[in-house]
Symmetry: none
Subunit: 207 residues, 4 copies
DNA sequence: TATGAATGAGCGTTCATTCAT
DNA sequence: CATGAATGAACGCTCATTCAT
């Protein structure tokens, strides 16, 4: 019964194609006619499933937000006391995010670019990123409580820096090449996570 | 006399207003009619100065690219031998970029978002960011030659990480708030540069 | 049921009105808004049925070309051996063309003026006229084989002259008055065909 | 003194270039900016010399009309009594017109197509052609008086046919190839005039 | 559910014309 | 005489959305 073709399948298909188009060409550049042509349905069908173009984008972002936060939640593991443990825990979290991103690249691109879209869409994307940032902030906060990170640290700046790192890495890994001769795209999620975590904690000098 | 109002002024004005609109609302959402209304000229005047809407965007990016690379060039100082010197040099460079960004926030937003625009515009923005990344890459390469950074370092990954950091910091500093309770926007270019450079070299643990 | 109003009807209606406008006012002077206003549909409807303004013009010409060549094909009758027979055969062919022209005056005007339009349209009109000229050329060629026209005749010049005659006659008959006191417009297709055929074969002296 | 460069030269130059553009691309498709670009002057200069775009077209046609009628006037020779004389006289007239047409092809094309232009321009072109047709009508009328052409002849139809012939021949000769394999364009004015005159008087059978 | 036809507001661009210098 | 900058009405075309079937 899960495979019963019909309404649900059509809607999923439209969502998938819409996400791809939004990511690849931006929200505004994406035409409903593009989406339905690729899906092999009529324009009317689209509007039977969705209230509007904006509604699809919002639905894509909303669904993505929930999945993404679940992944981040899963990434949280009780941190042991040593620094290597802490680095490992962070790498584990990053790896989860990277894996998810590789499976949902279009979603991530929409989140990071705001779809180049209307304010409502930008806002929804923003909120998702803020939720991510919050997760990292709480993570660091706990590390400080455990005495593993200096108490004096500027939590705001740090979480912003960390989030910047993650967004940049994912963008280059999946949507790049920003830089033509970059080899970043060939890396595995594990390797990328290790490297990013090392940089996170030790910076350039520690690598 | 050189400052007499006239054709050149009109063109500059249009460029300035266009950049602001592109940054604030995105390329597609920006209407020529918006730009000329704000500039107090007719639609025809716009098309006397520019071939097309796309051409303005490209001209904005192109001019910005040149200025930005000049700033980065200027930021290069001969690096002394000690680690604190190196950190200081990096902070100096970052400070220059941050100052420039604060003076040209619209340009930076266009560069980082690709204007939400057509492919040609996205591409031009990409190229500018690649040129920035290249500048940092060369910087690090020199530091390795001087024995100040470990030779084993993955240059590609490192320059990508650094660039990610800078883009994220500038975005949050100028176009935020990504995170509502963030205080990043109140920081001075100097403070921001210091903090970013420290993170760059020492990571979370060194801060 | 086949005549039920619907998409096909709308398209036909637009084609008809467009042809009339193109003929009467020229391609460039004709506005899509004119056409749709007269058809009682919206601008969008026009663009649902046709790719562009040029495409309609081309479609009109293309359809006309086929009809016209069919008429000319029909006009071909096996020619008997005597001169009067030959004249009669030619008159018959001309009559068919004249009748068709009277039923499709807008098409003919577009063909003869190129719609005053873009190069593609001019070209399409040209090709149709060339196809007509070819038909006459083949006709004469056969007459020469049958020994009814002198072998020495310059076929190129002759078909050009004949075609000139036909175009001029139709223009003056339908779109005139070129000359204010001309009575040509009152003639029947038969009379016009007789007269033209006589001139064709005998010139001024034979009339 | 005749070569004193200046205003007059500029105006002549603009007229010449305008005529060429109107003929080649049609009145509507021709932009003032095209004309002035080719002339190497500014748009303002154009409007110093001419009241409007329409005014240039009208001036071109008006000047052409006068020259053309002068040529036709010259072509009139007192006709002798024999048929060969009459044919020769007609050939002479045609030759004059053909020569003029070859020297002023752009003018002729504008006349024959009405420039694809506005009503005023179409009208001016029409009037010129009517004036030509009138000249031929008078010619034939005289021939009837002299007993050289049958009195019963339909003068209206005949002059229309003759004018059609001439327009078609000139069009194909100068602006063709209507028909790709036609050799008409290589003919001399004399040959063309001879052939046309023969067809005029004797038709296909007499050639 | 799904379709295809229709809608109409909106936008980028063109181009004849004007005018201060 | 000549310029180049400016004007603005007009037009072709797009595309999200609606709706009868």
């Amino acid at each position: 019964m899960s495979g019963s073709s019909g309404a649900q399948d059509t809607k999923e298909l439209l969502l998938k194609i819409a996400a791809e188009y939004f990511a690849r060409h931006g929200y505004r550049q994406t035409k409903i006619s593009d989406i339905v042509k690729q899906a092999g349905v009529s324009q009317g069908t689209f509007y039977w499933h969705f209230k509007s173009k904006e509604a699809v984008a919002l639905e894509i972002i909303q669904a993505g937000k929930e999945q993404l936060l679940a992944v981040i939640q899963q990434g949280y593991r009780k941190q042991e006391g040593t620094v290597p443990d802490m680095v490992q825990a962070s790498a584990k979290l990053l790896e989860g995010i990277f894996r998810f991103s590789r499976e949902n690249p279009y979603l991530m691109e929409i989140l990071f670019t705001g779809g180049g879209g209307d304010d409502a869409i930008r806002q929804a994307a923003y909120e998702t990123r803020i939720a991510m940032e919050d997760a990292f902030r709480r993570n660091m906060s706990r590390a400080i409580e455990l005495g593993m990170l200096p108490e004096s640290m500027d939590l705001d700046a740090r979480s912003a820096l960390l989030m910047s790192l993650i967004e940049g890495v994912i963008s280059r890994w999946l949507f790049g090449p920003i830089h033509p001769q970059s080899t970043i795209q060939d890396k595995t999620p594990e390797a990328l996570a290790q490297e990013t975590a090392r940089f996170e904690f030790f910076g350039l000098l520690g690598m």
